[in-house]
Assembly symmetry: C2
Homo-oligomer: 334 residues x 2
């Protein structure tokens, strides 16, 4: 396995393989690799002839009071894991390689970058979009692999890649969990045993919402309340957000459809953890099932048919409202 230390080395490596007709897979990471990263590298190796894993703790995506300095750095173990999973190269640049002296250029995905994790971590997604655009430009991969665990990041990067015309296919791989259900994260090592026990409320909430959706429950109010009830039993865990959103826009929806994102973020002690599910139950494909039994007035009273709160929500709000209405008896149409 090759260790590439500069942008020039990475570009030379990538272009040599491309000109020989080989496809390139990129797995961007901040190191501290775990089984979640391993699954990304395996997926990349399965669909690309050459895989490069980038290891770069990106300073611009950390807030001033976040854990940039103490973020775990385990380079030798990372290299061993990457190689064992089929990586052909590691790209391990310095900060000065990715941010040349005097750099002031940022890639900003407006709107999206201020939602979910972006709302509580100002500047975070600007840093992520900036560094990933640089990695795409430098590595020129055919495909890049990201974990669904960072679901809001995926939405930001899909939008960025489309908008900047970057010729890279974004591949999203499933969340990998420990046996107790906790989603794998490099930050899990910060948790004390007591905190780790409390942290399970995140995956329990995700599981609960998935189970409800599997029964055909589509109402955001019901799905979110179920999650909040689980968190209420663990008051030491401070909720950052619990949300049901359109995965492309990260804007709240009133009713789940296949592809809707349920996501949660919470502080367990000083450690901020996230988890999510992309709801895809077949039950959600039958929008009439739970709705026809109630009148329009009953549903309105429940707040199910909610008017868009502002211009930002109006497009999505209208789309969501249209789905249940189509399935009501025609006499109820206004």
């Amino acid at each position: 396995m090759q260790i590439l230390l500069t942008v020039a080395e990475l570009r030379q490596w990538s272009r040599a393989h491309r000109s020989a007709g080989r496809s390139i897979g990129l797995v961007p990471t901040m190191g501290a690799l775990h089984a979640g990263h391993a699954s990304l590298i395996r997926a990349a190796a399965a669909s690309c002839s050459q895989v490069v894993v980038s290891i770069f703790v990106n300073p611009t995506q950390f807030g001033p009071n976040e854990d940039y300095a103490r973020y775990p750095r385990t380079f030798d173990a990372d290299c061993a894991l990457a190689e064992s999973e089929g990586s052909a190269a590691i790209f391990a640049p310095s900060v000065e390689d990715l941010y040349p002296a005097g750099a002031t250029t940022f890639v900003d995905v407006e709107g999206l970058s201020n939602r979910l994790d972006g709302a509580s971590r100002p500047g975070h997604f600007r840093g992520v979009a900036t560094v990933v655009s640089k990695l795409f430009i430098a590595a020129e991969p055919d495909r890049a692999f990201f974990g669904q665990k960072d679901a809001a990041q995926v939405a930001v990067l899909r939008r960025m890649t489309t908008d900047l015309l970057l010729p890279v296919e974004i591949v999203v791989c499933p969340i990998v969990r420990d046996a107790d259900g906790l989603a794998l994260s490099s930050r899990n090592i910060y948790l004390s045993p007591a905190e780790r026990a409390r942290a399970l409320v995140l995956s329990q909430a995700v599981h609960k919402v998935e189970s409800l959706a599997a029964t055909g429950e589509r109402r955001a109010s019901v799905l979110l309340e179920a999650a909040h009830q689980l968190f209420a039993a663990v008051p030491e865990v401070r909720i950052d957000y619990i949300a049901l959103v359109d995965w492309a826009t990260l804007l709240p929806v009133e009713a789940a459809i296949p592809g809707t994102l349920f996501a949660a973020a919470a502080y367990v002690g000083a450690t901020r953890l996230i988890d999510n599910a992309v709801l895809d139950s077949d039950a959600l494909r039958e929008p009439s099932r739970r709705l026809e039994i109630r009148t329009l007035e009953e549903r309105d009273r429940e707040g199910y048919i909610r008017k868009p709160q502002n211009a930002d929500e109006s497009r999505l709000g209208e789309a969501e409202v249209s789905i249940p209405l189509r399935n009501l008896p025609s006499s109820l149409h206004s």
Copy 2:
């Protein structure tokens, strides 16, 4: 000559030539081509085996009260000129090609984008950096050609290209002028005959400052005052800025050195025009010439050794101060 209408067509064209070992030159334009653009296309054809001229009036670089709708559009004449100067292809995308539905991503070169033209045209350089980064990503050129007339744009795009790791060499070509000295611009067609006569004050100011620098005059105060005097004789022309700046940072300098940018922008009627010179007189290479004859106190009284006004200026201010001090008799050092 090929007409490429979509990003996919452009990329396919570019990659076919690159894989055959041919170099690609890109000349980004907004159309309404004139002899200035012709010089860029000629320069590109001289150093690259394949030249593509992009023609795209970029909506995101126009302010709400600017001339996006009425900007001159002369596609057929542009194609004829590009072909006659050696262009192999025209890239003429739609707005939807460069800004996919729902696009919210912008490339922001912070700091630089708010100086000179960026100060009076908020958002202008954000639009320029965004569209040029997309053109670079889509066309994958070896070299891209820009006119020195848009000197602040050149500074923004050099910074953007370096920061985003784009593997493109920026080539800057000299200003092309009409016989009367007016720098060529697609916007010159807006000028009435009387306005056109008044507009000559821009090139006269540029010429005056160049002449003074050629005599060894380095003081910003003197160079800028000479330009202001010329503008004072034409009160109908409203100055936007007259500035002596470091070309890389666009921050004001107190003394010219080779490479310093003198730039002016002014409204002639409703039309905003710009002009500039990159000072490069040999006389500026002899920093002791005009300085040793005065004492430090005299120069301080003249405001020559100015303290940086704010953090943004401090780095440059220190650098500028250090140059004359090095050439003073050692007894004057503090």
